[in-house]
């Protein structure tokens, strides 16, 4: 297999639209960003021979929406104390984060070609001291939400309007630290804090239900004092509307259950547990790119099932 090289890191830098752009224009911009990020990310994983492509693809629409149209942070304001904060708690999708940061100009696109290479700053989990735009060195699960709560408290102390977003996996919610943090978020009435759960219903080797069931997740979050909203995590319009509506309910932190599929929207990958950290072959890479191109020409509403995915070890 060809090793990851500069010719594999060629995605366009998309940047942000003017804040005066219409909702339809914003959604189209996010959709194109998500498509480009998926293609680039798939190349990184294919040529580097490692990565977490399933989880990358379940979260890329959320990342593209945040960086493409929601977060009040740009490469020029990456150190501004009053910037919005995005904390990626599921640090193992670093490939998706780096690609998203490159798409919006935080780091050079060509540097993506160093992903996972010896001494590259693009490690398998993000390092804020080395990679611009990264807010926390995550990787061990259950760390992002407490950090986000701490930042949201700091914003409140500063009487600042800056917002805090944290993206967690769903399996990750099995870590007790999240629930400690949720109690504090409610106690401190952090209504400018938004927790987004990438609810793909799959963890490393099985469904969350088979492993340590999270449901009824909406009721649990509500009982912990959150305003709960459920969205299709692959619908850019729904994501844009909800993630822009902070505070969702005054006095309460927001808990967005984003229903997603691991590997979305690639036919052989979507909702398939085998793709947690599987590497696509050359043929699979080309097929995925073709599918993503076809979807751009013939956009269709992405349906997301809330049913448990079928367990499959196909291709393992």
């Amino acid at each position: 297999m060809t090793a990851l090289a500069p010719e594999h890191a060629t995605m366009p830098v998309l940047g942000r639209l003017s804040p005066h752009a219409s909702r339809a224009e914003q959604i189209a911009h996010i959709a194109e960003a998500a498509r480009q990020i998926r293609i680039q990310d798939l190349k990184l994983v294919h040529y580097a021979g490692a990565g977490h492509v399933g989880g990358d693809f379940s979260a890329i629409d959320i990342l593209a929406t945040l960086y493409g149209a929601v977060l009040n942070v740009t490469p020029d304001t990456a150190d501004d104390p009053d910037r919005d904060r995005f904390i990626l708690s599921k640090g193992h999708i670093a490939g998706a984060l780096y690609t998203t940061l490159a798409a919006f100009g935080f780091l050079p696109v060509e540097e993506l070609a160093t992903f996972l290479k010896p001494l590259s700053r693009l490690n398998g989990h993000p390092n804020r001291s080395k990679v611009p735009g990264v807010e926390a060195n995550t990787g061990p699960l259950g760390h992002g939400l407490p950090i986000a709560v701490g930042h949201a408290i700091s914003a409140k102390l500063d009487v600042s309007r800056r917002r805090t977003y944290v993206l967690t996996g769903d399996g990750e919610l099995q870590e007790g630290s999240n629930w400690e943090a949720m109690m504090a978020a409610s106690q401190y009435e952090l209504d400018r804090l938004t927790v987004i759960v990438d609810r793909n219903r799959l963890q490393q080797g099985a469904t969350t239900r088979e492993t340590n069931d999270l449901d009824p997740l909406d009721q649990k979050a509500a009982a912990f004092g959150f305003a709960v909203v459920e969205v299709n995590g692959h619908d850019h319009g729904e994501l844009l509307d909800v993630l822009s509506a902070v505070p969702f309910r005054p006095g309460k932190p927001t808990f967005v259950i984003a229903h997603t599929h691991k590997g979305h929207p690639i036919s052989y990958m979507s909702n398939n547990v085998a793709w947690h950290h599987k590497v696509p072959s050359e043929a699979q890479l080309q097929q995925a790119i073709e599918e993503l191109d076809r979807a751009r020409r013939q956009p269709a509403a992405d349906e997301v099932s809330k049913a448990d995915p079928a367990f499959s070890t196909e291709g393992e």
Binding site: P81, R128, A136, H143, V149, G150, L157, A184, Q187
Partner: protein, 322 residues
């Protein structure tokens, strides 16, 4: 550098004793008064950290996350992300054990400006037993990169280390003693990280100590002097980074080194000193500390039991002169 005790005459044993937590809370309030970035973060430990007055003075700036140590350290990292300087105040046993991964990833590896203050460390909780003892904290944290570890020996050093930490960007762990100790330093004491202080000079044998055991080491040196043995006593407030130069000089200039600390014999100050001399100037070393889950007893009783009474430390040092 030699700094003498503030009071002259009489044995260190007879000096008045102080709870370092009082210096801690006074200094924290003082720092908070002049720097709005300073906040306290606690796990319900307002009373045990003596922070009631701080809470009254700065109600918004004492963040109590409840009995939730992982969240406490993560929240501190998030507060630092927002530009605050959090002083996390919690019983050292729970702070360092329960939240070790947050200390490693969210604070040290993320290089966040968080001050971790381990209250009532070592065997301060005495009869409450090994669940509440924190003899392992130093060994655990020594293994983590980008973490400065300070074990002050008296109220003046506690306050000085806090002032230095507040003014210096980066992760720091400070152990704040509960067991009363005499004042070792004068008001002119300046804390310099990574610098040892020769609190008593001598060239027969060396005792290296810190925290609650430093005054016991000075008392040991007084006893040795009556036998005509001149013991050098080195105060080592910073366990990491260690003052390698002071250790190597002592190894070279005296007959051997005794280390004495209220911590496990594996991987603490003794371990740090042993690692140093074995690589730079091999010599005889006696590591005094706590080798096991301690039985029931007060901290003072247990220190004596593990050979860290003045007599016990003197005996270990005397052995090395033979």
């Amino acid at each position: 550098m030699t700094t003498t005790a503030p009071t002259s005459g009489g044995s260190i044993v007879d000096q008045p004793r102080y709870d370092c937590r009082n210096a801690y809370v006074d200094t924290l309030a003082d720092l908070a008064q002049t720097d709005h970035r300073i906040v306290g973060v606690v796990n319900d430990s307002v009373g045990s950290s003596k922070l009631d007055a701080f809470k009254k003075a700065f109600p918004d700036r004492l963040i109590n996350v409840g009995i939730a140590e992982q969240d406490m350290v993560g929240v501190a990292a998030g507060l630092a992300n927002g530009g605050r300087i959090p002083f996390v105040s919690a019983a050292s046993c729970f702070l360092t054990a329960r939240a070790l991964e947050q200390i490693k990833a969210d604070v040290a590896y993320s290089n966040r400006n968080v001050k971790l203050c381990g209250m009532s460390p070592g065997m301060a909780y005495g009869e409450l037993g090994p669940t509440h003892h924190s003899i392992e904290d130093i060994a655990w944290l020594r293994a983590i990169d980008n973490m400065i570890i300070v074990v002050p020996a008296d109220p003046i050093e506690t306050a000085a280390a806090m002032r230095w930490a507040a003014a210096t960007e980066g992760p720091t762990f400070i152990r704040v003693s509960r067991m009363s100790v005499p004042a070792i330093y004068g008001d002119d004491y300046e804390f310099v990280p990574g610098r040892a202080i020769t609190v008593r000079d001598g060239d027969d044998v060396t005792i290296i100590s810190n925290g609650t055991v430093l005054w016991r080491s000075l008392a040991a040196a007084e006893q040795l002097a009556t036998d005509g043995i001149n013991a050098r006593v080195i105060s080592m407030p910073t366990v990491k980074p260690l003052d390698v130069g002071a250790v190597v000089a002592a190894a070279r200039e005296t007959k051997g080194l005794v280390t004495a600390e209220e911590a496990t014999t594996a991987g603490g100050l003794g371990g740090a000193v042993a690692e140093t001399v074995v690589q730079h100037h091999p010599t005889r070393v006696r590591i005094l500390g706590v080798p096991e889950f301690a039985p029931t007893g007060s901290a003072s009783f247990l220190l004596d039991r593990y050979g860290m009474s003045p007599q016990g430390i003197a005996d270990a040092a005397r052995d090395l002169t033979r």
